[in-house]
């Protein structure tokens, strides 16, 4: 059934944008209007899209051809998520938890007053550092920083520790920042566990396809035949947790055979001699026994990679492989960075480059001074020597929140469009932690598992119903500005984030930091570029500043160079160079039911947030995608046939799931798609469908970065 439509705001407004004959887009009917905005169907890409409204109803989306991350295309989530504005499970007004655990509607005024009163009392007792805010690192995160800093708390946190912080920390240590990949111009591309066709990055799969058309070779090192591997020239079915061995052997070959870029290494790196002394330990003859890739293949890949220098690259990675996967993920990511830079591909066409990032205008310029950054350490120990020195201040450590709540160090928190109760490991522990909080406020569009534990749930307007903070995410070789722009009027009694924070700030005595509208804020953000808000709203994307140019620029490392050897890491008690490190756990080779549990994304789902989108769940069912992948021979040895139901059990969790038998998976592992296992009864489409890897993962903090070590799970799999 279709819900009542929000009326179109922009039928007249967008008339000037209707004729777009030069654009590569599907068509517009005369009765439809077309409004540029930014997709919110995943936390990461925020693709530039046009949303079409017909007869007051959201119809379809096209890609904005100018935006860097999607260049005119839209992924399946983007198409489906715009329709979620009509999801009957949306929260329609502020809610307050009753003593019985049900929720009653309240007014915004009551919500603001009660939350600020309770928070004031907690801050008086426990100090502002007992308060946290957690959200994905999206464009409006500066509002959260401002709000928390105004209160006096340093505890702004993202999902990073459950996703990518090992990678970020390793690249920071090596070259002082996170580079981007110039896939389009590369002649030789190696993907280590990264699957942009599943954890979708449209620009990356487009560029890989484009590079392949020009003759590039693609190597995919992944225990599973990923969707990216479908395009690959080589699929290397590495043993899980041993990518580091493969990479160390690659580095060994490149150095021993003198295939590195001698001039680049001499001029722009430090620690090469130490690396050369260390790496002799790791020839391909050693690595093949660990990673299951034959030594001949390792020699061949290392040589092909180096022969194509500098237009060759190992993709910088994301979650898969080494984002937050294993005890050795930090050093694996270090090895990825070092193998890349040995061939001198840093800041080179066809190699890795530091993406541009426009610096947005400050609110001070409009007479809105920023609150001081609180002079206290983050409760989770991120960036604190002696705790998790390599973890970043802005990401924090997400899964430390429930632990800190249980320890009484965090008392109150705000969760913004995130669902840690489902997306953090060890749900029983996470639930216990979040329940211990004396005040939990969730801001979301639907009743996630986390919302369903909260004292108050505040409904934000759906992204098609609001303007949001100017965004710089579409910046790579070009610097671009984009924004979420309102497409239709709000259907319910909801507010955008800035109005929610402003409403809360008044009762918290920090109202002076939030006395501007979103338009005023965005005007100030745009001021340095000589671009008006109207111009941005009309085009959806604006390029600013000069484009990226090839050539070495000093690194933001202590030495200003690429650091093969890191004295900073050594000072923090960490290995200054990557050395082989065993994973934390390994399957029992004598037990035919024992497997390592891996997971990954399917192109139709994001985190836990899209499982309740009816059309996406329809696709999951139609394509029978809610299944555990298992190697065919291993499955047959334990009596499992394709489509059978299996029981999966780890030390902390147990569940049942149907299996997909395949030859496209390393025998030592099973692989679970990551978007399922919703247990909030308020999410009527997704509830009870599939299981989630977090149900099987214990609470771990990697010693270097504090990440979750998401693949350090051993499960027993048996026929149900």
């Amino acid at each position: 059934m279709r819900a009542a439509a929000g009326s179109a705001l922009a039928s007249g407004l967008a008339a000037g944008t209707l004729s777009c004959s030069t654009e590569r887009a599907a068509g517009v009917r005369p009765d439809a209007s077309k409004i540029p905005t930014q997709c919110q169907g995943c936390g990461a890409n925020r693709c530039g899209i046009y949303v079409y409204v017909k007869n007051g109803r959201v119809w379809k989306a096209d890609g904005n051809p100018k935006t860097y991350n999607n260049a005119g295309t839209v992924c399946p989530r983007g198409h489906a998520y715009i329709q979620d504005i009509y999801n009957p499970d949306r929260i329609k007004q502020p809610l307050k938890r009753t003593d019985k655990g049900t929720y009653e509607p309240i007014t915004w005024e009551q919500a603001f007053e009660e939350i600020s009163t309770k928070l004031n009392l907690l801050i008086m007792d426990d100090g502002p550092q007992s308060v946290f805010w957690i959200q994905y690192p999206m464009a409006n995160m500066p509002l959260a920083f401002r709000f928390m800093h105004a209160l006096g708390s340093p505890n702004t946190i993202t999902h990073g520790a459950t996703c990518f912080t090992a990678r970020n920390a390793a690249f920071n240590a090596t070259c002082g920042g996170l580079p981007d990949n110039d896939l389009k111009n590369s002649r030789y591309i190696i993907m280590v566990g990264r699957n942009p066709a599943g954890g979708v990055k449209l620009q990356q799969i487009r560029d890989i396809a484009e590079a392949k058309r020009k003759g590039a070779r693609l190597v995919v090192l992944d225990p599973r035949h990923s969707e990216t591997a479908v395009m690959a020239d080589d699929w290397l079915a590495v043993r899980p947790a041993s990518d580091l061995a493969f990479l160390l052997a690659m580095i060994n070959v490149i150095i021993e055979e003198g295939l590195y870029d001698h001039k680049f290494v001499e001029e722009h790196t430090i620690g090469f001699d130490s690396l050369r002394d260390e790496i002799v330990t790791y020839p391909p003859e050693w690595a093949e026994k660990i990673c299951d890739i034959p030594k001949e293949t390792i020699y061949r890949i290392a040589r092909e990679f180096a022969f194509n220098k500098p237009r060759a690259l190992i993709h910088r990675g994301y979650h898969g492989g080494y984002g937050a996967g294993y005890l050795n993920s930090f050093q694996t990511a270090r090895a990825v960075a070092i193998a890349n830079f040995l061939i001198g591909n840093y800041e080179r066409v066809g190699g890795l480059f530091m993406p541009l990032k426009p610096t947005l205008g400050e609110l001070e310029k409009g007479g809105h001074p920023a609150p001081a950054i609180p002079d206290v350490e983050k409760a989770d120990g991120a960036g604190v020597p002696g705790r998790y020195p390599t973890a970043s201040y802005s990401d924090g450590i997400a899964h430390a929140v429930p632990e800190l709540a249980l320890a009484g160090k965090l008392k109150a928190g705000f969760v913004y469009h995130m669902n840690p109760v489902r997306t953090n490991p060890n749900p029983a522990r996470v639930i216990a932690g979040y329940k211990k909080l004396e005040l939990l406020v969730t801001i979301d569009c639907v009743m996630s598992e986390t919302a369903a534990l909260s004292h108050y749930v505040l409904p934000e307007s759906f992204f098609l119903e609001r303007d949001d903070h100017v965004d710089t995410v579409h910046s790579g070789p070009v610097a671009q500005l984009t924004m979420v722009q309102q497409v239709v009027k709000p259907m319910y009694d909801t507010k955008p984030l800035l109005e929610i924070i402003t409403g809360l700030s008044r009762g918290l005595g920090i109202g002076k930091y939030f006395n501007f509208t979103m338009d005023e804020l965005n005007d100030l953000r745009l001021r340095p570029f000589g671009v008006t808000l109207d111009e941005l709203k009309k085009g959806g994307v604006i390029e600013v500043g000069p484009r990226w140019e090839e050539g070495f620029k000093p690194c933001k490392t202590p030495s200003g160079k690429i650091e093969f050897y890191s004295s900073q890491l050594e000072a923090w008690g960490l290995d200054p160079m990557p050395r082989w490190q065993e994973p934390l756990v390994a399957p029992d080779s004598s037990d035919k039911n024992s497997f390592r549990l891996l997971h990954g994304k399917q192109a139709i789902h994001t985190h836990s947030m899209t499982a309740n989108v009816p059309y996406l769940m329809e696709l999951s069912s139609r394509y029978d995608m809610i299944r555990l992948w298992i190697n065919r021979k291993r499955a047959e040895a334990i009596g499992l046939k394709d489509g059978d139901t299996a029981v999966v059990e780890s030390d902390i969790g147990k569940g049942t799931v149907r299996v997909r038998l395949t030859d496209g998976l390393h025998p030592s592992a099973v692989w679970m798609p990551s978007g399922y296992g919703i247990f909030s009864k308020y999410l009527t489409t997704a509830y009870g469908k599939g299981i989630n890897y977090n149900d099987f993962l214990d609470t771990y903090f990697d010693p270097a970065v504090g990440h979750i070590m998401s693949n350090e799970i051993i499960v027993r799999v048996a026929k149900a």
């Binding site: 004959s21 030069t22 599907a26 005119g72 479908v230």
Partner: protein, 183 residues
């Protein structure tokens, strides 16, 4: 575009990663009910670990030049247009489903609410205005190339001249307007 266009599509399966963006785009463009589809992706697996590969094959109405569905239609609801598109006039459709039985590509679906049969039209309403079918424009890897085979300068004509393609079910003599590159 030529004076008498012949619309056709080349689908390069070697670039298809099975993301289903084309399926979701089609769903919105045609405002389809939840469980009605005009296109789909079929997945095949080959080989044994670790010498293994997969192929994703996008499937939909092949807009045959010798369409079995048109021949069996008792009312003329299914018809072949001059521009190559096999179309359905839903006002003439009586829902007998002969066309569904006759289609070797399983490309047609009954509309649950009204009982007529509908299917991919190559987004006919969009063509001739520099617009593309919804499934084409949204594809991140450029799997689908759409255009006018009667225009020798079109991208599709040039690709057809240089790449080896196959038609699915060639032995059925349906003469599809969709050509596949299978690598």
């Amino acid at each position: 575009m030529s004076a008498n266009p012949k619309w056709a599509m080349i689908i390069d399966t070697t670039r298809c990663v099975g993301c289903l963006a084309c399926v979701a785009a089609c769903h919105n463009q045609n405002e389809l009910p939840m469980t009605e589809y005009f296109n789909r992706i079929e997945e095949q697996e080959f080989g044994h670990f670790p010498n293994y590969n997969r192929r994703f094959t996008p499937m939909q109405c092949q807009h045959c030049d010798n369409p079995p569905c048109v021949g069996v239609c008792p009312t003329g609801a299914s018809y072949k247009r001059d521009d190559g598109i096999v179309a359905v006039d839903i006002k003439k459709c009586i829902g007998c489903k002969y066309c569904i039985l006759s289609c070797p590509y399983n490309a047609r679906v009954v509309n649950d609410e009204h009982g007529y049969v509908h299917k991919c039209s190559f987004c006919a309403g969009l063509l001739g205005k520099d617009d593309l079918p919804a499934c084409v424009g949204t594809c991140p890897t450029g799997v689908r190339v759409f255009g006018d085979l009667n225009d020798p300068n079109s991208e599709i004509s040039k690709l057809a001249a240089t790449k080896k393609t196959v038609q699915i079910g060639k032995d059925l003599n349906t003469r599809p307007s969709i050509y596949y590159i299978i690598g």
